[in-house]
Symmetry: C2
Subunit: 200 residues, 2 copies
DNA sequence: TTACCAAGTGAGAGACCTCTTACACAGGAG
DNA sequence: CTCCTGTGTAAGAGGTCTCTCACTTGGTAA
């Protein structure tokens, strides 16, 4: 991390992951490349391959880090939301939206289909923990069965992800909606889904 | 379209668009390339450039076609859904989901941010018509204001798109949910959002 | 001090892409 | 019949990417 680094970087592995987040936020998954990350860090394009066997393995590590950070953001948001289980669960939508707008690393990165081929225990563990946290928040609102808690999580994640994508792609009349306004919409939609799961 | 085509293809422009749909459905936007579309049609990689100035213009034409087809699918689904305005609007979620699963061309293609740089009146017209149709369906459920109809459309599109992405990326426990089951979930979520917009 | 090893480097192979250029062909208008 | 125009081709320039290979560097341990 030192500006006057010598021949050795010091902690390239971690730097690759954080630089990958920056790149994702700026250009999206579509234009993400290992070479660009290396350029950004001022190392040779071969350097990343000392730490990751290939592009997908780097992305898998990013996925694991994103799952971890997102989980933290969700836990923090839930705690800010107070004690009411519905508010806590609804806050997931806002946390997700803000996290992805900031980092570009949403469920399309965390659960990217192409990463399923990469064996990565760390990633699996982080996604498992993330899902467990979501399920916990959903169960707390008092749905009768585990299956319904899962379905509720999926619904909330879907709506949060949907608002996030539409925001990013400029669907909302070319930026007529601010980040805050869109976050509020996402939360309102999540609340509606939670209420619907309750009345049944 | 004739198998034994001679030197000239016949209707390459239209074929490029339909072949692009196939490619999108198979490999996704990330791996879409003009060269691959040309290969698929058995023409040289230069041929598409007789009809489109560049990759983005071809994608813009695909976007226009997708907006048109999606609108047709939505209208058809609404008519199948009967006369109840809420059912008609909710059917949008199912139509969207099924259309994108089938074609790979969803709002992330139709409203892709990178296409905003391409001047394409046909595309603008198709997206306008699509949005108008959606707004009509939303207005019919009796929301008090235009603004709220817009917000309701956005919410339904968001949830439909969210379910679609999660389904495509394998978020639902590696395919534990079928297409039909997921479509049903999307419709149920849309119904919840419509009900929430009504109680207010 | 030496010798080792993890983690860099530069060069480049091989693949693929977008897009350009010069040329070839076919069908229709004159 | 001839020429024009539209639409195809072959070839390739110029770019980027992933990943490999032989080599270098500098900190650590014997």
């Amino acid at each position: 991390m030192s500006r006057d680094r010598g021949y050795h970087h010091g902690d390239l592995r971690a730097s690759l992951i954080t630089a990958s987040f920056e790149l994702l936020a700026e250009v999206g998954l579509r234009r993400f490349s290992v070479a660009a990350v290396a350029r950004r860090l001022g190392v040779s394009s071969a350097a990343p391959y000392r730490h990751f066997p290939g592009r997908d393995h780097l992305l898998s590590a990013v996925s694991a880090a994103a799952a971890h950070d997102l989980r933290s953001a969700i836990v923090a948001a839930a705690d800010r939301a107070g004690a009411d289980p519905s508010s806590r669960l609804a806050s997931v939508a806002e946390a997700y939206f803000r996290y992805v707008v900031r980092t570009g690393a949403g469920f399309h990165v965390i659960y990217a289909a192409e990463l399923y081929a990469v064996p990565d225990e760390a990633r699996r563990e982080q996604t498992r923990a993330l899902m467990a946290t979501l399920l916990e928040l959903a169960s707390a609102v008092g749905v009768p069965s585990h299956r319904q808690a899962v379905a509720l999580v999926e619904a909330i994640v879907a709506v949060a992800h949907g608002y996030t994508t539409l925001f990013a792609e400029g669907f909302f009349a070319q930026g007529a909606l601010t980040v805050d306004a869109t976050a509020a919409r996402a939360v309102a939609a999540a609340e509606a889904l939670i209420r619907a799961a309750g009345d049944r």
